[in-house]
Symmetry: C2
Subunit: 197 residues, 2 copies
Amino acid sequence: MPARRMTAPAAATAEPAPSEARKRILASALALFYRDGIRATGVDRLIAESAVTKATFYRHFPGKNDLILAFLEHRHARWMAWFTDALARHGGDTDALVPTLAEWLRSPDFRGCAFINSVGELGAELPGVVAITRRHKAEMGVAIAALLPASRLRRKQALALAIVVDGAIVRAQFDAAPDAALAGLQLCCQFVMKPPA
Amino acid sequence: MPARRMTAPAAATAEPAPSEARKRILASALALFYRDGIRATGVDRLIAESAVTKATFYRHFPGKNDLILAFLEHRHARWMAWFTDALARHGGDTDALVPTLAEWLRSPDFRGCAFINSVGELGAELPGVVAITRRHKAEMGVAIAALLPASRLRRKQALALAIVVDGAIVRAQFDAAPDAALAGLQLCCQFVMKPPA
DNA sequence: GCGGTAGTAGACAGATCTGTCTACCTGGTG
DNA sequence: CACCAGGTAGACAGATCTGTCTACTACCGC
């Protein structure tokens, strides 16, 4: 089995260096799958939006399902990078949670959690969607746990806050404004962080 | 404009007395839309499952969208009836929340919240879906608030618990088992109900 | 210069989806 | 009896969806 590329800096993972066309397709998927939903976004629209032909599309992704998984993988990396950065920017403790989420929930193109939405749409059909969603939420939980001070309750607080964050995300998705979701999140943070005497 | 039916007991709402065919269509929608998703369920499959012909289907529902809204309306009524009953069966206070949710999340055909899933699938496309989801969650919030003892924190606790419940529902949807979701819900209930000294 | 890789351009197949239409049947009501 | 709402049966239209295929082009490393 020959090496795929020798020009690459011999990375351990040996990724085949993404082409421009592939990047455009993924960028379109990032936007359209999230905004309009996965089933609602046809391959034809993705192709048109990416300024790519059908043959090119199917050269990079054997089928739409492969693009869906690549989309989720990409979205996970991008979202985690933003999340950890925003938490750090806002202080890196539990008080950072509300302003961080506020950034996202108030953004005009917020449409809920891409992973929760994907599981709802095709969780039973594409098992990979459920698998990556679990990984995503596990990593989100780790990032949340990192905000907590060491204590006997730390693991429990982390689990509670992770669930609360998901609840706030879905609430902001169907409410007219994210204010109630953020207020509820704020309250939960207070309740969780002030242990009973 | 003549009365639709005189045999009906002159109900104030004047519902046109649902026919057997309509009931079968709605029953199929209840099962298939929830289990497989709305977009994934074609009109043809609904028709086959309901033992009804296409003409009959379109006589009762001008389009698929009307059936979707009727489905959500029906699901809302059924779910609220179950929810309030289960809460009462388990004591009617905040300790009833975990065993009630456990009934649902542990049931083999649990697939998450039909309203959250629907908003994720076609929230932008069918505004009625968002509208009925808000009503549904508002009523759920009222049922949760009814569990709480009168206190200064009541409204805040109700909001917090409503968000936590939604978080537990979505977590149980992608986790392999609902145990973590229920444990987190339990923890949140404790945190919320034990106000800081 | 040769060959392989990645790309363009677009026709095409086959399935599926929503929705319409015609023709016929049946049971209840005026 | 006549009428008609509600039902059966199924063909059909038109759009859309995923995926395949042919033919041609441009570049890059050997």
